[in-house]
């Protein structure tokens, strides 16, 4: 096991997959000469050359479309968005081209493409640059949506995403790139669509993905001090969602809190709650509660931003509520 940063784990995944398959190439703003806006592509230009590590102008719609075309022609592009906020400009290519092509060609034209980059809020980047769009993409049939929370998952899931024959929206986190974690040596693959129990517990299930996994784990620590055993389950892939794993956890704990960084309305948590009320109805001892980002554009003010984001205290409070404590 090597201790790697989330950034370096992604870098390893890209390097290994580019070495493994000559059809894999990376394209985006600043991915080559600048080594990546967040240094995820460090060393790749030197190793694989400018034909496979392609710097683009600031033209999200354009290079996303080139990527889809390359995939149609048989390549396996990895398209890096500097952040998913900028990918709003490219969403037509993601939703209307990448996600539809296999269906509209009668199964003749698969689009094995990965769109990747950081999502969610960082710190004081204000309303336009602090958004979580995973619920948007998870809404679309034809797309897979992956949100790794640890370096090991980042590496293993990116490798699976690159090998997948469907378009994959791969959402990283600006605040996670520096986080370190153990990554298994050698070939490390994490299959898409399989949740992971990040902490075992018996009293309440905390469902969280991406940055919120750390928040949920911290909340679980706090709860443990009060004698509450919380289980933290990370779906890792939001579409397809590993609902059976979440249901199995709730069958054990009878109570659930879903945590997400994004907005509450029609969010990922709403989808989880839908599954639970249907498949775990008779196992619920309390309504499922959600902890989400506030239903507002992200404030720039540091204190207001803090209040608008989910944190461990909010998760602890929700967990106590479903446990009928206090």
């Amino acid at each position: 096991m090597a201790l790697l940063s989330y950034r370096d784990a992604l870098n390893q995944a890209l390097r290994e997959e580019m070495a493994r398959d000559p059809n894999v190439f990376l394209m985006g703003e600043e991915v080559g000469v600048y080594q990546g806006a967040y240094k995820v592509s460090r060393g790749l230009l030197e190793e694989f050359g400018p034909m496979r590590v392609v710097d683009t102008p600031i033209t999200e719609l354009g290079f996303a479309g080139v990527g889809v075309g390359a995939a149609m022609a048989g390549l396996r592009p990895v398209i890096e968005f500097m952040t998913w906020n900028f990918a709003l400009l490219a969403i037509d290519q993601v939703v209307n081209s990448a996600a539809k092509m296999l269906y509209m060609s009668g199964g003749q034209v698969p689009i094995p493409i990965v769109f990747r980059g950081p999502g969610g809020a960082a710190l004081m980047l204000a309303a336009q640059h602090s958004q979580s769009f995973e619920a948007w993409y998870a809404h679309v049939p034809g797309l897979k949506v992956v949100t790794p929370a640890t370096p090991a998952d980042a590496k293993g899931l990116l490798k699976s995403a690159i090998r997948d024959n469907n378009p994959v929206v791969f959402i990283e986190g600006e605040m996670m790139y520096n986080q370190k974690g153990e990554v298994p040596d050698g070939e490390h693959i994490v299959p898409l669509g399989v949740a992971d129990v990040k902490r075992e517990g018996t009293d309440v299930t905390l469902v969280a993905h991406a940055k919120m996994v750390a928040v949920a784990l911290k909340a679980a620590e706090e709860l443990a001090k009060e004698g509450v055993s919380a289980e933290v389950i990370d779906p890792r892939t939001l579409r397809p969602l590993d609902l059976p794993a979440i249901v199995a956890s709730v069958r054990k704990t009878n109570r659930c809190v879903v945590v997400e960084e994004g907005w509450p309305f029609a969010g990922i948590g709403a989808q989880v709650v839908d599954g639970l009320q249907r498949d775990a109805f008779d196992d619920l001892d309390a309504p499922v509660l959600r902890v989400t980002g506030a239903d507002v554009p992200m404030p720039y003010n540091r204190q207001l931003e803090k209040l608008a984001k989910p944190d461990a205290a909010k998760v602890v409070a929700a967990a106590k509520k479903v446990l009928y404590l206090g």
């Binding site: 109805f281 008779d282 196992d283 619920l284 001892d285 309390a286 009928y324």
Partner: protein
């Protein structure tokens, strides 16, 4: 929406209540859970609490008056609502008085949370089939899906469970608490309402404690005061032993090393009869009667300067040969003062035999907390009348001493009839 406040059954045996004092006046605002009045039940002064928010519009029952459970005592409603139509009309659904037959429904704790959706929720009580809650079509028990599933599995009536969740929601812990209470209380068979004598459970194993009913408590107190700490009474019958004699002869003829004695036959018959009459297979434990699921027969053995009662455990399940061997071994160990405490405690009923000492009949003293003991006299040829003619027959007189706090005359007599039937027809013991 105005609601009628009725006299509630605030104790398991309460049939009527006396209104001691109103705590609210007409026109006072009342909140769900607030005390409306103090009510004297057959046991104590309890609080009658509001089940819904509103205004105490009309006091129907004056202080000092006594009414049966279910009778209208007041009206709670909106401040300006017309409640005249409700006054003078009997309550549509008076709460059923709690069953007297050992119901474990507890009195409402004063100040208990009384969610409006669960009219009887103030009493954290398990449901019993004979103890239906007041029906109220407009109310629904709020409960979590898990609580409903667990309640169904445990046979707990959610309407009788006090919900501790928001808005009185019944949640898992409430059902589990009620389930535990139900398991320790004796479930009563259908139709046992208010018939104390019928409230005898049939535990299949272990035991079940049945709290003393008011009637049982009174019997216990009065009879104890009458003739001592254990109020004995005695039942004697004469048993024809011809067939038992023959059976024993046949068994002896088999050449078995272990000889079956008449006492072994008596023990076996008693054990089987106890199985059929669980009301006798019981202990009196001051505030409750413990009905045993197992049959352990104590066998009084005279020792040099006293007597001791070793126990034949599960005697109803043992064959005669086993009983004979065990009885002999226990008696020898008793005389050698080698019995361990486990061997002389835990009997659920006892047999004392003085037949070998030429006693025709006698009365034995009960070994508390057991509820009875059978005193066995000698077998002798006696002149009896059969079909109008005096003939000689081998007979044996037995006298059962009963603890009247547990066993009533008819109960003991029926038990004794079964013992007699078994010994007069030993083949019946094969059934």
């Amino acid at each position: 929406m105005a609601t009628k406040i009725v006299m509630e059954a605030l104790s398991p045996t309460m049939e009527e209540g006396r209104l001691v004092a109103w705590k609210k006046r007409e026109g006072d605002a009342v909140k769900s859970g607030e005390t409306l009045a103090e009510v004297e039940t057959d046991k104590a002064v309890m609080e009658l609490v509001a089940r819904e928010d509103g205004v105490l519009r009309k006091i129907v029952l004056t202080e000092g008056a006594t009414v049966p459970v279910g009778a209208l005592v007041a009206i709670v409603g909106g401040a300006d609502e017309d409640v005249s139509s409700l006054v003078g009309v009997p309550a549509a659904a008076p709460p059923a008085p709690a069953a007297g037959g050992g119901s474990s429904r507890a009195p409402a704790p004063s100040g208990a949370k009384a969610p409006s959706a669960a009219p009887v929720a103030a009493a954290p009580a398990p449901a019993t089939a004979d103890n239906p809650p007041p029906t109220n079509a407009s109310s629904r028990v709020r409960s979590s899906p898990l609580a409903r599933r667990l309640a169904a599995e445990k046979g707990v009536d959610l309407r009788l469970v006090s919900g501790t969740g928001p808005n009185g929601r019944v949640i898992r812990r409430d059902v589990e608490a009620a389930g535990t209470a139900a398991a320790t209380a004796a479930p009563l068979p259908e139709g046992a309402v208010a018939r104390a004598a019928a409230a005898v459970p049939h535990p299949s194993a272990g035991f079940q404690d049945v709290p003393l009913t008011t009637m049982r408590k009174t019997i216990a107190r009065r009879l104890s005061e009458s003739i001592g700490p254990v109020p004995h009474f005695f039942l004697t019958t004469e048993i024809e032993m011809e067939r038992a004699w023959e059976a024993r002869q046949h068994l002896a003829g088999l050449g078995d090393a272990t000889k079956v004695s008449f006492n072994d036959l008596v023990v076996k018959a008693v054990a089987l009869a106890l199985r059929q009459h669980p009301a006798v297979n019981a202990w009196f434990l001051d505030d409750r009667i413990r009905y045993h699921g197992d049959v352990h027969v104590g066998m009084a053995v005279a020792v040099e300067d006293g007597l001791i009662t070793p126990v034949l455990r599960h005697a109803d399940r043992k064959g005669l040969r086993e009983i004979a061997a065990e009885a002999r071994a226990l008696a020898e160990r008793a005389r050698a003062r080698r019995l361990t405490p486990e061997e002389y405690t835990g009997a659920t009923f006892s047999v004392s035999n003085l037949g070998m000492l030429d006693i025709d009949q006698f009365t034995a003293v009960i070994n508390p907390p057991e509820a009875g003991i059978l005193a066995v006299g000698r077998i002798a040829e006696r002149a009896v009348v059969v079909d109008g003619a005096v003939v000689a027959r081998r007979t044996m007189r037995v006298t059962m001493s009963c603890d009247h706090r547990v066993v009533d005359g008819a109960t003991g007599a029926k038990f004794l009839q079964t013992v007699k039937l078994m010994l007069e027809n030993p083949l019946a013991m094969l059934l």
